[in-house]
């Protein structure tokens, strides 16, 4: 484990990508997090390049006088890598939640957790399809929402909106 954060009542555990399976097995067997809710990839390309003006709160956080006070412009905190993978875990019946986070550079792969939680199968396929994150050891890492021959990964920040090539046009 690299870091532990508590923000807004949510616990985030930042984990070294090479040891994700080890961390997940520990959380499942020792801490009782038997339920994987979700795997969410986030692309931070271009994060913090422009200053966010009229920030709601202060540069040190919130609480600038009364509720809804307008604070200063600031740049969001830099992120350690381009992609974050967030594993949301839940313990039944303990009712605890935790977020496990790993940071990946473009092209860096991570070990699959299908062996730990079978439900990770489709979540990882979706992360691969939408963000292009490769999961080593996944038994069936194919596209799930887009077509098999789709080019690019639509939820990446550098993927354009609109303007996709028209299929079945006169040229074909």
């Amino acid at each position: 484990m690299v870091e532990r954060r508590e923000v807004l009542g949510e616990t985030t555990l930042v984990v070294d990508p090479a040891r994700i399976v080890e961390a997940c097995v520990h959380l499942r067997d020792e801490e009782g997090f038997n339920f994987l809710s979700d795997i969410t990839p986030v692309d931070y390309l271009g994060w913090g390049e422009s200053e966010v003006a009229g920030y709601y709160g202060t540069s040190l956080g919130r609480g600038l006088g009364p509720q809804s006070a307008q604070g200063f412009a600031r740049t969001p905190d830099p992120k350690p890598a381009r992609f974050a993978l967030n594993y949301h875990l839940l313990s039944i019946p303990g009712a605890q939640v935790v977020r496990v986070q790993v940071w990946l550079e473009d092209g860096q792969s991570v070990q699959s957790v299908v062996e730990v939680w079978p439900t990770a199968d489709w979540h990882e396929r979706e992360a691969f399809d939408m963000m292009g994150i490769v999961f080593d050891g996944h038994p069936n890492l194919t596209r799930i929402l887009m077509e098999d021959d789709w080019e690019g990964h639509p939820l990446r920040k550098d993927y354009p909106i609109g303007g996709e090539p028209v299929r079945f046009s006169g040229d074909e």
């Binding site: 807004l8 969410t40 809804s68 969001p76 949301h88 839940l90 009712a95 079978p118 489709w122 077509e147």
Partner: protein, 419 residues
């Protein structure tokens, strides 16, 4: 009669290996000559939208199965990144067009958590009321369509009759029958209209009788019992391993409901039961949903009784639109109105994951904000998406006719699966 026979759930795990969501033909047992591969969907009335199941059949038995999704992928999450927070609220409802109110709620709760915004109690209680009405709506659609697929067409008409009552209430309160955009960061979009309470009480009185009628039609109906009991088995351990939630999980004997176990809104102030059934078959999923509708009616009644007085939205001019009449007299209000509508409000930097118990299970929303007027990333944890992961496990040893009952009992909405 079959009713008295005890049902037994399998022991051990039935999740296929190595791919948990893919039932592969056991070539050592099955003769490849006997196997017929059939495409079930994507355009088949019993697949609840555009689900495609590629099935390997040996006679009438399902020996291989692969679920193919994505036919309804419209890029909601990408679209929401382009909209201001304020305008993005309309999207989650359209993701799951049957359980729309709960989806709207989860996104609004995520925004409010990032804003650390206090919501007045009246708004909280009205949200609970509408979410429970919406749960009834969703389960009615489940019941009507599932029964229709198994041949009971009259159920469809009865369920849609009551569904219309719910939609009428929704229209009365919010102006829209579906996709209401009635919840927004800070509270509600409008005050609860006069006359809503009276109409809602009529519904609360009527609905238990309608539920009795449904049970009279189905619960002791030999055909319904034969088609649903012992079909589509899913054990408690498998259900948790496959991430199942909501009625599917509770029908497998896991006593888990986010409304009670990880409370949000004002659910701790209410008195309701969480129905749990142990057998993990289609029939128990039906029973769970029937009982949940009864509980939801009770919750609606309690919400009506306990509805607090007071404002319906937070008095926070940076986030909530000012009252319309002030625009003619107050320069400040005009500026705030203009800023919110054009530029949108800003949400502090951060990331949150919020879950609610939607009609289908754990509806999660993960939101990242960079402090700007638009979400950096929105991701929905769709219970329908996860429910379809269980198709391979539940359809082990199924007959082709049972597939329809099983898909119906998982109650997936394809809009939510594909997003």
């Amino acid at each position: 009669m079959a009713v008295t026979e005890p049902r037994r759930i399998y022991s051990g795990s039935r999740i296929p290996s190595p791919v948990p969501t893919l039932l592969q033909v056991a070539t050592d047992v099955e003769d490849p000559e006997d196997i017929l591969q059939v495409n079930f969907g994507p355009n088949h009335p019993s697949t609840h939208g555009v689900l495609r199941l590629v099935v390997d059949l040996s006679g009438e038995r399902v020996v291989g199965l692969r679920a193919v999704i994505g036919y309804l992928h419209t890029g909601f999450e990408k679209n929401m990144e382009q909209k201001t927070w304020w305008k993005a609220i309309t999207y989650p409802e359209r993701i799951d067009y049957v359980s729309f109110q709960n989806n709207e709620l989860v996104f609004v709760l995520a925004i409010e958590k990032l804003l650390e915004l206090e919501v007045p109690p009246k708004a909280t209680w009205m949200r609970m009321l509408l979410c429970e009405l919406n749960r009834i709506h969703s389960h009615l659609v489940f019941l009507g369509t599932s029964a229709l697929e198994l041949g009971a067409i009259s159920m469809f008409w009865y369920c849609f009759r009551e569904r219309d009552l719910v939609l009428d209430l929704s229209e009365l309160a919010t102006g829209m029958r579906m996709h209401t955009r009635y919840f927004q960061a800070g509270g509600l979009a409008e005050d609860i209209p006069r006359g809503f309470e009276a109409e809602c009480r009529k519904f609360v009185e009527w609905m238990p009788k309608a539920l009795d009628d449904y049970e009279a039609i189905l619960s002791r109906n030999e055909i319904w019992l034969e088609r649903t009991r012992g079909i589509g088995l899913l054990s408690a351990d498998d259900a948790i391993a496959l991430g199942q939630s909501g009625p599917v999980l509770r029908a497998s004997g896991v006593d888990w409901d986010l409304r009670r176990d990880r409370p949000y809104l004002a659910y701790p102030a209410l008195d309701f039961n969480v129905p749990v059934y142990p057998n993990g078959d289609v029939y128990d999923r039906y029973l769970v949903r029937m009982d949940e509708m009864r509980e939801s009616v009770r919750i609606v009644e309690q919400c009506l009784d306990g509805m607090p007085e007071g404002p319906w939205t937070a008095d926070d001019r940076k986030v909530v639109l000012p009252p319309r009449h002030e625009l003619h007299t107050s320069m400040e209000s005009l500026i705030h109105h203009f800023k919110i509508v054009t530029e949108g409000y800003r949400v502090p930097e951060g990331e949150v994951y919020v879950t609610v118990e939607s009609a289908r299970g754990e509806m999660g929303c993960f939101v990242v904000s960079d402090g700007g007027p638009r979400p950096w990333r929105v991701k929905f944890r769709a219970p329908s998406f996860v429910a379809l992961e269980a198709t391979a496990t539940t359809m082990t040893n199924a007959l082709v006719a049972d597939m329809i009952a099983i898909v119906g009992s998982l109650d997936s909405v394809m809009g939510e699966v594909d997003r």
